[in-house]
């Protein structure tokens, strides 16, 4: 297994709040790493550190290092980093553009102007996010008109269009019905052949269904990380056990 992302002694702060405490984790290439934990345990902060979206918040401070393919992410300019580390947000966030333009948006801004090339990227991305059949005749419609589940897969397609190698999912199914959720999950399992995926979820069952490994965060600390079966059948830490069996959180 190849190390894709290596996090060394990472601490994150928002003002006085210490939201991630001395974190050391390695994410392997082509795995789905599930991240579970009650709210306020630093899961989302962790994800947003990886593509430096936290830097938008002026109160954010961090120390420690994050390496992507052995290169410190603070040595990569943010545009390149975010192209390589895509993100799908908790709520579907289509831009106020058509379906086609939503997906072509990233490639266009990165300098692709040729219409044929863009059409090709849009189709490939929609096929990869299992949305093509549903929207191929609706490409010119506003993206906001799609259903919630379709919008979320559209956002995934938009991320894929910038050809990342890591995809961060931040509770991608929190606003979706069970059928849409199943589709997004299938998509993720399909995608891990080509991408490295980190999935933050409040739904422990979802983590169990799709992840190869699961990390349990509590109050900004990584309590335990292990193979999914191990975490769900025989966790080392009592707190992990309490959380997955629903005794708190």
């Amino acid at each position: 297994m190849v190390d894709k992302i290596v996090i060394k002694n990472l601490n994150c702060f928002f003002g006085d709040i210490h939201s991630i405490k001395s974190l050391n984790v390695t994410v392997f290439e082509n795995e789905i790493l599930g991240i579970i934990g009650p709210s306020n345990s630093g899961k989302t902060t962790f994800l947003r550190t990886l593509n430096r979206l936290n830097d938008l918040n002026i109160k954010f401070k961090k120390n420690g290092n994050v390496f992507l393919d052995a290169q410190d992410i603070y040595d990569i300019d943010t545009e390149t980093l975010r192209k390589r580390v895509g993100m799908v947000f908790a709520l579907p966030l289509p831009l106020p553009l058509s379906v086609f333009e939503n997906i072509a948006y990233g490639p266009r801004r990165h300098g692709i102007k040729d219409r044929k090339k863009l059409e090709n990227i849009v189709e490939k991305s929609l096929v990869a996010s299992f949305l093509w059949d549903e929207v191929k005749d609706r490409l010119e419609e506003p993206a906001m008109k799609l259903s919630g589940g379709q919008q979320q897969r559209l956002c995934l397609a938009r991320t894929l269009a910038t050809t990342p190698d890591v995809i961060l999912f931040d509770e991608p199914c929190s606003g979706l019905d069970p059928i849409s959720t199943a589709k997004v999950e299938e998509t993720m399992i399909e995608l891990k052949k080509k991408y490295t995926i980190i999935l933050v979820t409040n739904n422990t069952k979802q983590a169990a269904r799709v992840s190869d490994r699961v990390a349990f965060f509590l109050m900004g600390e990584l309590i335990e990380i292990d193979k999914t079966e191990k975490i769900f059948t025989n966790p080392k830490d009592k707190r992990t056990n309490d959380y997955i069996s629903g005794r708190f959180g």
């Binding site: 938008l56 545009e79 975010r82 192209k83 993100m87 990233g106 990165h110 906001m144 991320t159 910038t162």
Partner: protein, 281 residues
């Protein structure tokens, strides 16, 4: 007392107090329309004043007001919008930013006659533009700025932060995000603000009193260094300085000014309404 009755009394009082707001609007409109409508003819709108203002029309004043307002807005719009983008999207919250924001608030609070004196000192005398459209427009421009900066800032702020994050998360740069996502979605709000700023300065008298307005110019301006007649100033002149002024011409002039200002505001409201219905989120 019974709470239901108290509530009823309270609501009635609130309603009656609110009703007071519309009374002055109705009375002003009623008097001006009643006294002035007989003056409104095609000739009144398209000819120059005659008989020492006691006859003829107000065409030069209409043109003068339009040229001042359009000239001022064409300075104020780019500068106001660009500084709003800087203040909203780029500026860090430091002393300089706070000083700039405070200046904008103060600029909005300066009495209009002070703008007039400032324009006289700086543009007319020091920069030697003379009493001219340029000097008047620059004075109005400074007066219009706070309105445009404030409303543009509000329009930029109302574009959801999540759009910015979605765009940035694709590796799109900050400037591209502003250019392709934030600005297009803030545009209706910015336009509404610009038009409201425009209608605010269209009726101003004091700032153009010493900087642009002429008592009587029997021809249309040919360059920005010409003096012009302007509706608000013309109205002031004919209602205070001309003996035996026909009353309907005074009210007619007021009516034209009022209609222009209301039409500008109304177009701002229609733009806002149109885009709100088209809004995609």
């Amino acid at each position: 007392m019974n709470p239901k009755l108290v509530q009823k009394i309270a609501f009635t009082v609130l309603f009656l107090v609110t009703l007071i707001i519309i009374i002055p609007v109705v009375i002003i409109l009623f008097i001006i329309v009643k006294e002035g409508y007989s003056a409104i003819t095609l000739e009144f709108l398209t000819s120059i004043p005659k008989d020492g203002m006691r006859g003829g029309g107000i065409f030069p004043a209409i043109i003068g007001t339009f040229s001042l307002v359009l000239c001022a807005t064409s300075f104020a719009l780019p500068i106001g919008v660009l500084s709003a983008i800087y203040l909203n999207e780029y500026a860090k919250d430091n002393l300089l930013t706070r000083v700039i924001k405070l200046s904008i608030v103060n600029l909005a609070g300066v009495p209009s006659v002070v703008y007039g004196l400032f324009g006289l000192g700086l543009f007319v005398i020091y920069l030697n533009f003379g009493v001219s459209i340029l000097a008047g427009a620059l004075t109005l421009f400074i007066m219009e700025l706070p309105c445009i900066v404030t409303t543009s800032g509000g329009a930029l702020n109302s574009v959801p932060q999540s759009f910015r994050e979605a765009s940035l998360s694709l590796g799109v740069s900050k400037w591209q995000t502003i250019r392709h996502i934030v600005l297009p979605n803030a545009l209706p709000g910015i336009m509404t603000g610009a038009i409201l700023g425009l209608s605010r300065i269209a009726g101003e008298t004091a700032p153009i009193l010493f900087t642009a307005a002429a008592f009587y110019v029997p021809r249309l301006p040919t360059s920005i260094f010409d003096q012009v007649m302007a509706l608000p100033y013309h109205l002031y002149i004919i209602s205070t300085q001309i003996p035996n002024m026909p009353k309907n011409l005074t009210y007619g002039t007021a009516l034209v000014l009022l209609i222009i200002v209301l039409a500008i505001s109304f177009s701002a409201i229609s733009i806002r309404y149109y885009f709100r219905r088209k809004k995609k989120w």
